[in-house]
Each structure stands twice: as C-alpha cells, then as structure tokens.
Amino acid sequence: MEYFLTEQQELIRSLARRVAEERILPVRAELDEKEEFPWAIVKDLANADLFRIFIPEEYDGLGEGVFTLCLAVEELSRACGGVAVTYAADALGAMPLLLYGNEEQKQKYLPDIASGAKLTAFGLTEPTAGSDAGGIRTTAIHDGDDYIINGTKQFITNGGEAEIYTVIALTDPSRGSRGASAFIVEKGTPGFTFGKKEKKMGMRTSATRELVFHNCRVPKENLLGREGSGFIVTMKTLDSTRPGVGAVAVGLAQGALEAAVAYAQQREQFGHPISAIQAVQHILANMAMELEAARVLVYATAKTIDSGAKNISEIGAMAKVFATDMAMKVTTDAVQVFGGPGYMRDYPMEKMMRDAKINQIWEGTNQVLRNVIALELLKRKALRD
C-alpha cells in the first residue's frame, strides 16, 4: 500500500527502522528476560532525534504530528513492543503539555523532552480508577502559592525512569471528575516517591511503577490548564494518543507476520515447506489482510487528528480497538504457524503474543472504548431525530 509519505517522514521511518534492527533486535530477548529498562536504546533514540518528532519546532522539535509519531512507533514495535511503548508513553506524558501547557511551561520542559534528555510519564490510573477515570482519589489541595498532592497512582508506564510526570488529581473532591486538575510533577520533588516495579506478562523491558505522593508540594505554576479541567486534559490527551497504541499493535503484528511467513517457508512437513499447505496459507493471508486494514485505519485516524479535527473520540477509539484486537489475533496466529517452537522462549513469537495482550487493556479497555463508539452512534441518531 502506498501511504504517500513526505521525504522527512520517509527519512524518520527509515532511521527508526535502523535503530530497531541494529540496536533493539540484538538485545530484545535479553531485555525481556531480565525486565531491564532499555536506557542504552533510549539514548540511541535521543541521538537519532526520534524524541523530537512530535515537538513543535519552536521548542527544538521537528514539528511533525501524530501520524509521523505512529510511523516511528510502528517501526520500533516491529522489533520490540516494550521499547515501542517506552517511547510512546513518553509522547503520552508530553501530550498534556503540548495541548494545555502555557508558554512558560512549554519553554521550560519541551526542549529537554525533544532532546530525549528527560523522559515523561502520564499518571492517571489508580487502584480505584481504571476504566472509570472519575474514580480517582488522589488530591491536590490549594495551599498558598502551592498545591499539596496526596495519593497513589498505579501501573504508570515509565514510572521511576521518567523525570517529568503529568499527574491528574482532585483539586475539589466534592465535584468528582469535574474537580480534577492536571499537574506537572518533577522527579525528585519532596514527597514524591515510587512504589514497587510491577512484574508483567509482556512489555517487560518497559518500566511500570506506582507513583506515591505524600504531602508533595508543587508550585501553582505547575498546574496545566485551569483548575477543574483535569478531566478534559485527560480525555483530549488520550484521544490524541490512541493511534499511538494502534501503531504499537500494527508494529507487533508486522513483526509477527514477517516471522511467520519466513518460518512457513523454511519449516518442512510431509516433504515440503508448510507454506505449501493451503491451511497455512490462509492463516497468513488473513493475518496480512487484517494487519493492513488496521494500518489504514490507524494512519487515517492519525492524519485526521493532525488536520485539527475536533471530534476524534470515536475514530480514535475505533483505531485503537481494531488494531489491538487485530494484533492479539495475528500474534496468536503467528504462534500457531510456528507450532511447538512458537511456544518456546527461544523464538520471539511468544513474546510478541505476550506484548500484544496489554494493548487491549490500557489507554481505555477495548470494552469501554466500544462504549465510546456506541455512544457517539446513538448521540448522532438522537440529534437527527
């Protein structure tokens, strides 16, 4: 399929692929096995300017949008979902700043994010608030020129490794989700510590930790947007980053498909390669079809967001759900094509399948996102009637 990339997009994609093949592929199994954060690769990504992609030029970025970011995420994910998600989570952490940061905040933080000197993370989820983001209990109480944050965030990607955190907390607990606000909190702020590092099924090179706030005082300059806009900040951020999750899924499936095709041509049974068996061919054909359909949807959604379109919740949800369900199926089928060896940790297939699963869960479960899609359908119908 021809996606009509610009010269800069072609260049970004090819450099991301080079990092993936030369720096990630040789170590992905070890990083997964040891659950080690990929600092050396983060440095390579920074040196290659890949953290600059989505940052505007005036803050030392390349001024590209969500679509170009997706191209890079996909290439990284083709080699390792864990590295891709470390990279994509940085964009997620930076997005609230891009969308709602004031000039001072942007000047202060974005250049370091662009250079890769500082990683970011987004802190929303809590033990009591997953799909129901309104269930957060972390508070940020106004006190003079500061806010005092108390509470715990759970399952935060890049937690502990990132320097800059966007944290959603209740400034007015009596108003529920309408009383939520977004804050920038820097690592090292007194009262801000990290809980345990989670042991995960997949994406094991990425770091997932609790963020613990105990009387953590942040200056009012760190408030993102206005007080009470935390829920909007969250929704707009996630709307913009959902194609990124789709791109992680597309990359994973691409890696799985390529490996499955190569293996099918090499594995012999009944005196010929299994790629000569129609039952296997049909599995491969379905994998390829579904993958390409997901890629089209992810790219088109990303481009729509970049065009400045306002109502993107529905298409963002569609792209994320479709691509991640596809990746779960394609990686599972790839293990099937590999047969017994596919189940063994000597081959990368089982890792791809493990890495795929979480994408159906995070940044909105695929069930809650179907609710979003259905709600939009019903709303439109009601408006017409």
Partner: protein
C-alpha cells in the same frame, strides 16, 4: 576545540576484485561505505566536541563520488566536510595521500586534534595516521582506546598494546588513530541527515592547497604495487604411523627439513 577527522570511502564488501592490468581495486558496481574504522574516529571526534565544544571537520581525499561519504559524516555529527579531489591526486600511495592531507590540514590551520581510524578496510596499511603526524611535525599516538582527558593544548589517552594498555600524555595539536574499542558509533540523526542533504561540501584541488609538483598522485608515490594476487590455498596432510617414539622421531626429522 577544533577536531579534524580523516575518512576514506571504501568498497562495502569483502568480495573484492582486482584489475590485473593496474593492480588496483575494481570499484565499479561496488557499494561504497565510509571505512568502518573511520566511523569510530568520527564518533570520537563528535564526542570530544560534545565534551569541550568546538567543531568537527571531516576531510577525505578521493574521487568526486567520495562526497557521498562526507555527507554521511555530517549526518553522523560532523559540522563541516571538505573533499580533496584532483586528477593530480589519482594513484596516490599512503605517503602521497598523507602529503595531500597534511597540506589540506595546514590550510585549515586552526586545529587541535586530528583523528584517523587505525587502518582502512581496503588498503589495510595503517600508515596514513603516523605519516600525517610526521609531515605536520606534531605528536602521534596509534591504537587509542580511550581519551582520558583533554583540555586546551593537552591530551591524555590510553593506547592498546598487546598485553594491556599504556597511558600517554601529549601536547596539542596531535594526531591519534583509534581502535574500535574506543566507542560505539551513533546512528545518523534526523536533523543531521536533513542537514547533510543540503550541506555545501567544498572541493579543494591541488592548486587550492598548494601542493608541490611531483609530490602527489602516482608521481609522488614511492611505493609500487608490483603484483596483487589471491594466495593459493594448498592443504597437504600426513598422518604419522608407528609407536609414539617413532612418530616423534619422524616429526623432528620433518621439522628439521623445513627449518
């Protein structure tokens, strides 16, 4: 800190062919790359610049197409690149090449460190670095595996030797050649690649750098490649028979024949 890195464009393959008439490498139809050892030299130059600020200038003597290799150095962090290209340079051996490079570097004038790879992939001599230092009459250290300290007019390096390493201090300017243990070269950056596409790469000719007639090219090359050939592989094995003592006697006899 002004750093000059000397690079060479070489064939990107080990499957080389030699022109039996001229005894030189057949370069047509072969992909060209930056000599891999020079990539470590460039990376170290860029790291030194990042450490103490300054400028990295990559230079290469070669045919016009070597410009491509120099563009690549810009995508990898060089600030400027200069191509030394002239019919008068054609056929230069290492001595004549070093002479041309030394004249070009003298023209650059303001330099602190000159870095070369330990050797090239094609010529394999490792001579250009030391010859260059001799011609510029400045200190030289080969096989550098670490730059321990660098400041205005001073550098301390580790040099790999067979059993460990030596620490050597020297005043600047100086020439070093580096081994692959010194760093892991970075991959090209997006900005660097964009810059490399539009970068102006000046071409300096024999007149520009003022070389003496007869000191460059074939005329200035004291070495002649008389013959280049692939060694014949011959395997001859023999299994000695008899008791251990008899076998030892036979072996000693055979060794004496050879010696």
């Amino acid at each position: 800190m002004n750093i000059v890195v000397c690079i060479k464009q070489v064939p990107g393959t080990t499957d080389i062919k030699i022109d039996p008439e001229t005894n030189t490498l057949v370069r047509e139809g072969v992909e060209s790359i930056v000599n891999p050892f020079d990539c470590y030299a460039l990376e170290e130059g860029v790291r030194l610049k990042e450490r103490c600020s300054g400028k990295v200038t990559a230079i290469s003597m070669g045919p016009p197409q070597a410009e491509q290799a120099l563009r690549e150095t810009i995508s990898l962090g060089a600030d400027e690149a200069i191509l030394l290209s002239d019919q008068a340079f054609a056929g230069s051996d290492t001595w004549a090449t070093s002479y041309v490079l030394s004249k070009a570097i003298s023209k650059i004038a303001d330099y602190d460190v000159i870095i070369c790879g330990r050797q090239t992939l094609d010529g394999d001599t490792g001579q250009v670095g030391p010859e260059l230092a001799e011609m510029l009459e400045i200190p030289f250290v080969a096989y550098v595996s670490k730059v321990e300290e660098i400041s205005e007019g001073y550098m301390r390096v580790q040099r790999m030797v067979e059993e460990g390493y030596e620490t050597i201090e020297m005043p600047l300017p100086a020439v070093i050649t580096v081994v692959k243990e010194i760093n892991v070269p970075r991959l090209p950056s997006i900005r660097g690649t964009m810059k490399s596409k539009s970068a102006q790469i000046p071409v300096w000719t024999a007149d520009d750098i003022g070389i003496d007639e007869g000191k460059a090219g074939i005329a200035g090359s004291p070495t002649r490649v008389v013959k280049v050939f692939f060694p014949q592989r011959t395997h001859k094995s023999e299994i000695l028979q008899g008791s251990l003592e008899e076998q030892i006697d036979q072996l000693v006899e055979k060794l004496e024949e050879v010696i």
